[in-house]
């Protein structure tokens, strides 16, 4: 059998690195459907999964792909899918089922320009709010944004670890540029890769309750075939998993589903500061746009502009506290993203009028050149 972890140094695209990260995390099921610019993840998994004892299947559409991922997860297998905008839209209902039934899995969205068929081969970051609220009802979600092939390798492992720890679908919001660009990717030794698995039930099976929260607010999860006779439903349910369609049960369930994220923010949220200590102006960015912003900071610093960057590695849950703190001492914020102001609104909300917040945005099709960010900085300076 081939190795699941291909320790070594490679020149690899972000899509391929994503697939290798998944395998390193222990993913053994992929249900997919072809879509540009995410197809290469499926193609890599089709080659690699059977080599390591896993299963790949190309389904008839993205709705089915997402459903198989949930089914495989309940069979006890770490599972994932990857798609882009139109497919992400189709997956939304079953992502909601995954949230409601607390099913660990990873969904990668290699973003392209939208709405609709949009710009299939060109980048955008226009699905960030869809990632947050795309499925109906009130819920919490975890979404990560990779800035390089190396980072998507690690982020995919993190995404699996978070999904297993907190029992929910975790989203990786990549984009066409990160997906298709080739860069150096170092795959470490197996011993240097930390992988986590869902909490398993202990104790008597007849007393087991499917959604009884454990110490961190997350319930233990048996797999189908282990003899627990679980009932898993997308209807509002009690701790036993039984549908109870009352106001009280709805309140309890939604509270439980949101609390397991909102009470563990310090464990979940990751950001990266760059020249923030003395910064008078702060760029907020993520994914490929954070690379642009990084270059802009370097250029502007050489021209004497005191600017820093807060790179969001976790976009959802949103790092509110950090931005609120920065708002106390920073004179201006600039959000840099390939959409017309989605995360921008979140920044505005957190800054709460304490400093002006401007946007360097673009509706999609290209990266935002560093010059545009520098221009904005000079304007504001």
């Amino acid at each position: 059998m081939e190795k699941a972890i291909l320790t070594g140094k490679y020149y690899m695209t972000g899509d391929v690195a994503c697939a290798e990260g998944a395998l390193a995390a222990g993913c053994r099921f992929f249900g997919g459907y072809p879509i540009t610019p995410a197809t290469e993840i499926a193609e890599r998994m089709a080659v690699r999964l059977p080599e390591v004892g896993g299963t790949f299947i190309q389904m008839e559409d993205e709705i089915a792909a997402m459903a198989t991922v949930l089914g495989a997860s309940w069979a006890g297998v770490k599972s994932m899918t990857a798609t882009s905008g139109p497919g992400f839209s189709l997956m939304m209902e079953n992502i909601g089922l995954g949230i409601c039934t607390e099913t660990p899995c990873v969904v990668v969205n290699v973003q392209r320009g939208g709405p609709s068929t949009g710009l299939p081969t060109q980048s955008a970051q226009g699905d960030m709010m869809q990632a947050r609220w795309g499925s109906h009802g009130h819920y919490e979600i975890i979404a990560l944004a990779p800035s390089s092939p190396q980072e998507i390798f690690y982020q995919t492992i993190t995404a699996f670890n978070l999904s297993e720890t907190y029992r929910l679908p975790v989203l990786i919001m990549s984009d066409e540029i990160i997906g298709h660009m080739s860069e150096r990717v170092v795959i470490p030794d197996k011993k240097d890769i930390k992988t986590l698995c869902r909490p398993k039930p202990k104790g008597r099976k007849d007393r087991f309750k499917l959604y009884e929260p454990g110490p961190n607010g997350v319930a233990a999860m048996p797999a189908a075939g282990e003899g627990y006779n679980v009932h898993v439903t997308g209807l509002t349910h009690d701790e036993k998993g039984y549908p109870i369609l009352t106001v009280e049960t709805q309140m309890e369930m939604i509270t439980r589903l949101t609390a397991k994220i909102s009470k563990n923010l310090n464990d979940i949220i990751q950001t990266e500061p760059y020249f923030l200590d003395d910064a008078e102006m702060v760029l907020i960015s993520y994914g490929v746009s954070a690379r642009t912003s990084l270059a802009a900071v370097d250029i502007a610093r050489k021209q004497g502009i005191k600017v820093g960057l807060l790179r969001l590695i976790t976009v959802w849950p949103f790092p509110e506290e950090q931005i609120c703190e920065l708002a106390e001492r920073v004179k201006r914020f600039i959000t840099v993203e390939i959409n017309m102001g989605q995360i921008h609104r979140e920044v505005q909300r957190c800054v709460g009028g304490k400093a002006p917040v401007s946007l360097v945005g673009h509706p999609g099709g290209t990266i935002i050149p560093p010059d545009r960010v520098v221009e904005k900085l000079k304007e504001a300076f």
Partner: protein, 282 residues
């Protein structure tokens, strides 16, 4: 005295109790509905199949029949509308030791979920699909379905249905199902036998069970539950081996029941293991 009263009140044991979540009973199905009969036939089949109970799982979609997963005392999954089959596909591929039953309705499996049904049949995915066909959308109050007879009245075809209904066994067969049968809820022994055969058979099995829906379909078409059962008694013809293309539901000509298809074909997992995994050693 109180103990005696309690003992007298205690429900007598039922032979299927161990397969039921008794704390979920009473069920939601209406008086005169046939889903319960199809469901108990399914439970009898699980029992008589002798399969190891912990490896039998039931997956349902949404609708009246979709509630079955909530009453069976097995690992059971009540999924999204139309998506029971791909969810079941994931379960099966994740753990090939599972024996997967999909129990759902005609709207769920053939309208919103029709695409998944034909593709699972095409792949010969090893699962048993039981479709309770009550000719309409019962849960939402009796709307037209892909199975509603031409000219029948429903809340969304108040002047009569202008469409032509699907012949479900024909679709399953044409798409590649290796076991296909149709019964009515009057044929409980035959349903049980067909489901048992399907559970023990490797491959995609499809069993249609015709069922009355007196509250939502019957009421608008001047057909009581008894009328429907009478129709099943008088107008059905058991014709095992009939070609699925020739069994459109037509009470005038007689409704054909029976086991129509029983083929041996390699399953998806067998082919995946042979084609996709065996090359690993070369």
């Amino acid at each position: 005295m109180a103990d005696k009263l309690r003992a007298a009140k205690k429900q007598p044991d039922h032979p299927l109790d161990d397969l039921l979540r008794r704390d979920r009973i009473p069920h939601i199905w209406c008086p005169g509905c046939g889903i319960g009969t199809a469901f108990s036939s399914c439970l009898n089949a699980i029992k008589s199949s002798g399969l190891e109970r912990k490896n039998v799982v039931m997956v349902s979609g949404i609708g009246c029949s979709g509630r079955a997963a909530g009453y069976v005392n097995l690992d059971s999954f009540h999924t999204t509308h139309g998506r029971a089959i791909p969810f079941a596909t994931g379960l099966k591929l994740g753990n090939p030791d599972l024996n997967v039953i999909v129990f759902s309705g005609d709207g769920d499996l053939f309208a919103i979920g029709g695409n998944h049904l034909i593709h699972a049949a095409r792949r010969n995915m090893d699962m048993t699909v039981i479709c309770v066909n009550n000719l309409n959308y019962g849960m939402t109050g009796g709307q037209v379905a892909a199975t509603t007879p031409n000219m029948a009245k429903t809340t969304t075809t108040p002047r009569g249905n202008p469409e032509t209904p699907f012949n479900l066994p024909h679709i399953a067969y044409a798409a590649g199902a290796t076991f296909v049968a149709r019964w009515t809820i009057l044929n409980t022994r035959e349903i049980t036998k067909s489901i048992e055969e399907a559970l023990l058979k490797k491959g995609f099995s499809f069993i249609e069970v015709l069922s009355p829906c007196p509250i939502n379909y019957g009421r608008r078409n001047k057909e009581s539950s008894q009328d429907t059962l009478k129709l099943y008694q008088e107008k059905t013809i058991i014709k095992n081996g009939a070609h699925p293309s020739e069994i459109d539901i037509d009470p005038e000509k007689g409704i054909i029941l029976g086991k129509f298809v029983d083929l041996q074909q390699p399953t998806y997992i067998e082919k995946y293991d042979k084609i996709c995994r065996s090359l690993m050693n070369h």
